[in-house]
């Protein structure tokens, strides 16, 4: 069995206007997990629970084998965490922050830090208060990456970055994967980033997990089937199809559990298959959220 970098079972947290329910999540060591979901879905709350910053009301949380939040002090030596609301000292330079982190973490890799400075286009002598949003994000990530932690937990690491900076971050994240012992969990609204670099995908909406599985299996289950349907023919309701839109002779069916038999079933009902398309994670994201909300409301 592979070791798990992260394991959540039956985790819940109740707030007056929001609750996280029954969160089960596993991140195998050496893999990248992408956490996606709409605003307010519970991604950040889940991440804060992982870091011991928010204490769950129920369920068990293990990060690198440590029980959270009880053993968070021990766990944090090996976790690199970055989120939007992390604050650096405004009047200090980036270089000051680098020496500060270096004095705490023996794993600090000074040569790698210098390389990242160059790649991210940052300067050590710059004061934090003079940095743009994108530069702050990159500075925060540099301070985390250069520690070479076993586990990276990143809340929206690419939000608000220009395409070049985003690319640099993605490159560093995939570089981490050259080492099989390291793992990453990151949340993002950018489905393209998640689709590109994640081994595992977890989909959260309204405080619960809708899907959590390896990316290839996940993408493979979704298909768009374009059909030509003669007048007078009704398309049968088939399992694995979550929606059909029809306009005149043309119809588009969306499958979330596609098997070739679905196409055969439409053909024997009298429809002609024009094509079967795979879907991007972005398209799946939208279809999935709409579908799960219809189900909740029904």
């Amino acid at each position: 069995m592979t070791d798990l970098a992260i394991e959540l079972s039956g985790v819940g947290k109740t707030y007056p206007f929001f609750s996280l329910d029954n969160i089960d999540l596993k991140v195998p060591e050496g893999q990248i997990m992408g956490l996606i979901g709409p605003n307010g879905a519970g991604k950040s709350t889940t991440i804060r629970i992982l870091m011991g910053l928010v204490h769950q009301d129920r369920g068990e949380v293990r990060v690198l084998g440590h029980h959270m939040p009880a053993e968070q002090v021990a766990a944090k030596w090996d976790i690199g965490f970055a989120s939007e609301d992390m604050r650096l000292y405004e009047s200090m330079t980036l270089g000051w922050h680098m020496s500060f982190i270096q004095s705490i973490y023996s794993s600090w890799d000074a040569a790698y830090a210098q390389l990242l400075l160059k790649r991210f286009g940052l300067r050590a002598e710059q004061k934090i208060k003079g940095l743009s949003h994108g530069q702050r994000v990159k500075a925060t990530l540099l301070l985390v990456f250069a520690r070479r932690p076993k586990l990276l937990i990143l809340d929206e690491p690419t939000t608000g970055l220009d395409p070049v900076a985003r690319h640099e971050i993605l490159r560093e994240l995939t570089n981490v994967m050259a080492d099989e012992g390291r793992s990453i969990l990151f949340s993002s609204h950018n489905t393209q980033d998640v689709e590109q670099i994640s081994d595992q995908i977890t989909f959260i909406d309204r405080g619960r997990i809708i899907d959590s599985m390896d990316k290839e299996t996940y993408l493979d289950r979704w298909r768009r089937v374009r059909l030509e349907v003669p007048f007078g023919i009704d398309l049968p309701a088939l399992p694995g199809i979550i929606g059909i839109r029809r306009d005149g002779r043309l119809a588009v069916a969306t499958a979330n559990e596609f098997v070739p038999g679905l196409a055969n079933a439409y053909e024997s009902a009298g429809a002609r298959i024009q094509c079967i398309e795979s879907m991007t994670l972005e398209e799946i994201f939208v279809a999935n959220v709409e579908h799960s909300r219809e189900e909740v409301e029904a």
């Binding site: 893999q31 995939t174 994967m177 590109q196 081994d199 990316k215 795979s278």
Partner: protein, 131 residues
Amino acid sequence: MNGAFAISQSDKRPMYLQIMEQIKQRIAVGDWSEGQSIPSIRQLAVDLQVSVITVKRAYLELEREGIIVTQQGKGSHVASTSGLGARLREQELEQHLVQATRIAAMLGLRPRELEHRLREAGDRVAEKETI
């Protein structure tokens, strides 16, 4: 180096298919020869900046097609089948022919007419090459 690999986001095909395609091209043109060892799954994932699982899937499918061989702990290499590059080109031709036949059928062309069109296309290619 795997610098010439390019995963396109505007290409509608899944990333693993694009990776398979590009590995096949390398073999077809002879850059990757029979029996030659190729990057490990993890290494290619890092180089292409895509997930390990995507490259793993591409390698699995290529192995199923008999194009590469992966040995546990020893990495992967191009299959030692002789004439593999030619076979891949052959496959590509076959796919184009099937596609052309389908479109011809949609246009209502008879096989004889398609044959004629193919000969004409051949003449045009030959003309271009002599210029």
